[in-house]
Symmetry: C2
Subunit: 531 residues, 2 copies
């Protein structure tokens, strides 16, 4: 495996190439790369001693901490899969996750929820957690090729409390060599949005994570010396991707449990932080916390935000910030699929693809669509995930015809940039034409009188379905159905325009998206084609 | 193969993401990415029609031209292997290379040498070229897994002349889809130094080339819009690696047949070139050619060189140039293994490893050596080659124990940076100690009186071998053997010092290195341990 490079290998090389660099800062904990490397080796050995083997899952139940990075790297060294759980979830949600993953080890920080879960796990004959069906959850698992757990077997996880017990675990391990683990093995599992009513754990291999880190290093022009403040949640790819890119370039990761404006200011000043996970209101809070100029934030290279902010920090000149930060992404592509930093002056507001992926806009038959047409954003390349844990059917659907189907709609502009339209929640079939509600909703919402809009398909004897708009107007605004239909026609092909418009006070929502089931029930929707 | 990304895939994505960008400039030829993509598809189809299949070799016999990039990309699309031959070689050397590769197609520019080779190839019953032994050359070929040529079979290559015939070939191909080719398949073959009296073709996969390009993009902070002038030879990795990094980031490759100072000035000005293959005397020649300021060279972002030069260009602020350009590399690692740009202030003058590889300094038993000790530079990671074409024994030796053995000596400094010592041509065994001549020669050459030095091992009854130095002094300089031995002792462990020094007028050379066989014969060398 002369071409393999795992996260564990990256750490081992930094320990040799950057012996004096601080890898990790967390409260009183400061670790150089050689110190981190030694601790990760001991932790991997200790976990192996507790029965954790290749393909096994190890779960972190807690806030941000240096242990998150150590556990991920130890799992990579062992060939195990690390999952930092969303500690903000309810006990029921966490129980689902534990049953779903059937972990070999759980490292937990004390809270009402985790204490209750831990107590249940140590009850006699407990299989991880009670009221579970691990056999069902694990059946069909296929991504973890070398798991020591037999599919269908129940298993009692080792529970280790963060803090002293965790430190004892690390200290109990020995320094030894480990067999090389292929970088195509999954190393990280991150739970993502529910497609069918339950969340799914996206598996990311070392190869994908390192490729994504490299993309981020390219676009962000990160250099050795880069110091990242992990103040966003590490169970989300948005923070984790920066933590890993910082590791990749041999920089310093500073951990803080969660966002606190004053503490963020103190850490930026004390550790000469280059970047943190900040946007919008968080930046305003930081500006407010540092109103007297108590902290020196000039090490921070960040996007321009407000006059006060720009005076406190160094406005970044890398491509990442030069043409507005961001792009389009999802956990399943390792984080970012497209970058605005690669599309200066482009028309699409999602930018251009990362240099290590391919992107296609595909129609319902998976044929490529020409520029200007809306279809599903599909991808292939080095940063892509390895499927969801124990979801063989969903994996087969999402990766059909050799392309990962993001479930999101996009449009290629004539200049090659990509516009993100919205989630591909469903499709309307009218005549031979496919119509995505998100596209029509976008056009409706661009009308000055419209506050919110949703589009459904109603059965139609001649055309199979007809497009129907449900619209909420802004307070005191007035318009007519005809006016709105004409407005849509100026932006989209005529067959996409609503045949009919119903005005309502508010659009029912499920999270950020319209509650289409409720809308169908209230306004006669139906006859949808199979996805 | 959802994770695969070949050179052909990179081109296909640029054709969609950067439809207006100029990919290639060569004289009157200007191609956008979509135009290049279409021509590459036609070329791949035309080559397939002439019998070129997966694993087959395609050779370019000529100077730099846009056809070099087109042929490489068409081979990637087909799964074939492209080799740009060193056209400066003698007819005998080119004949060896053609027999060694047994190509399915040869595209050639007219010259005395190539015309003679072409004439021989079209003689009745010719098997590629006459007086050859293709069966012997191909036996043991194993790297090309899907070659349509049977090992041991003789084969007549298709010869196509560059220019009109090449354009006809491209025009004869159709636009069609090709099956996806795994990015682990070799795409490029570059001949490298002889280890055993004959040069060897290093095979580089798409995955390795793309990983190396990404490393270069990171360290050079290349951005879209990057324009590279290919004025160095494309058969050498030094120019090819920049050509491919420019492709990777979606920039513009400008081709010129060879270095011509005036033409280089004209092209930098006309095409707003960002970087060219320039150093030392070439830069002086460019400064001289542009003495009157006739050309605007301000688009060039390059390392500082002289006052006149610095005024003509933009001195680069990327890590690549900020701490002196360069590092350590070889074709077998895809180009660069270490970068000075990753080692600001470091002690080692070869820098730190690229972010996508691991480097170890290994002793003769392949155990890792501690910092400060000289051993062989060994590597593993994403940019590494796939072995030499048809050299199974050499490949097994070079990749033993899971590490690529570069054949070069290096030392890890306490700060983690790496110092390149010299080629590991042979080893002297004195007592239980291993002594590399290159290390002792370096110490000798640091003496102010020494012009050149070579170190050999002479048989010794007590110690197996003793170290003997052969030294050429600078004109009018004087010193003694004792003085030189003392000088070495101040720099190296005592056991490495020469026992004996012989003064000569000049050190015999083979290329850039001492001719050790001649030195052994003249000065009693022998008893070397097996490598």
């Amino acid at each position: 495996m002369i071409h393999s490079l795992s996260l564990s290998d990256v750490l081992a090389d930094h320990a040799r190439s950057r012996p004096q660099v601080t890898a990790v800062v967390d409260g009183d904990v400061r670790l150089t790369y050689p110190e981190l490397d030694s601790r990760v080796t001991r932790l991997a050995d200790a976990l192996a001693g507790r029965g954790v083997g290749g393909g096994d899952r190890v779960v972190w139940l807690g806030q941000n901490a240096y242990a998150v990075l150590e556990l991920l790297l130890a799992c990579s060294r062992l060939g195990a899969i690390f999952c930092p759980a969303n500690w903000r979830q309810s006990e029921d949600e966490l129980r689902f996750m534990l049953n779903d993953l059937s972990p070999a080890a759980v490292i937990w920080e004390s809270s009402d929820t985790t204490t209750s879960l831990h107590a249940a796990s140590t009850a006699p004959h407990a299989s991880g957690v009670p009221d579970s069906s691990p056999a069902a959850a694990l059946s069909g698992a296929g991504a973890a090729s070398t798991s020591t757990a037999e599919p269908g077997a129940t298993r009692t996880a080792v529970w280790v409390q963060a803090g002293e017990d965790y430190e004892e675990l690390v200290a109990s391990g020995s320094l030894r060599d480990f067999a090389q683990v292929a970088d195509t093995e999954p190393a990280l599992a991150l739970y993502t949005a529910a497609f069918d009513g339950r969340p799914n754990a996206a598996l990311l291999s070392s190869a994908a994570l390192i490729a994504h880190s490299t993309s981020l290093v390219v676009v962000r022009q990160m250099e050795p010396g880069f110091t990242f403040l992990n103040n966003g949640p590490l169970f989300h790819v948005g923070t984790m991707m920066f933590c890993l890119a910082t590791l990749q370039i041999g920089g310093t990761n500073v951990f803080t449990p969660a966002f606190d404006a004053e503490e963020v200011c103190r850490l930026i000043d004390a550790e000469r932080v280059t970047q943190a996970f900040l946007f919008g209101q968080m930046i305003d809070a930081v500006v407010k916390a540092n109103a007297g100029g108590k902290y020196d934030l000039s090490s921070l290279r960040f996007v321009s935000h407000s006059a006060e902010w720009d005076e406190m920090i160094t406005v970044d000149d890398s491509p990442w910030c030069r043409s507005k930060m961001g792009g389009y992404g999802q956990t399943e592509v390792g984080g970012m699929l497209t970058f605005l930093g690669l599309a200066e002056g482009g028309a699409g507001f999602a930018g251009r693809p990362s240099p290590l992926v391919q992107v296609r806009i595909l129609g319902p038959d998976d044929a490529e669509l020409p520029p200007g047409e809306v279809g599903e954003i599909c991808a292939r390349g080095k940063t892509l995930f390895s499927g969801y844990f124990a979801r063989p059917d969903l994996n087969a659907t999402k990766s059909r015809n050799g392309w990962h189907h993001t479930g999101d709609l996009g449009r290629r502009e004539p200049d090659g940039t990509i516009t993100f339209i919205g989630p591909k929640l469903r499709m309307i079939k009218s005549g031979a034409e496919n119509i995505y509600p998100a596209e029509v909703e976008r056009a409706l919402k661009s009308h000055p009188a419209v506050a919110d809009a949703a589009v459904i398909g109603v059965p139609d004897p001649a055309w199979h379905q007809a497009v129907k708009a449900v619209v909420a107007l802004k307070p005191d605004a007035t318009t007519t159905a005809d006016d709105l239909i004409e407005h849509v026609k100026t932006q989209l092909a005529s067959y996409k325009k609503p045949r009919d418009v119903t005005f309502v006070d508010t659009i029912p929502k499920r999270g950020f998206t319209p509650d289409y089931d409720a809308l169908d029930a209230a306004h006669g929707g139906g006859n949808y084609p199979g996805l």
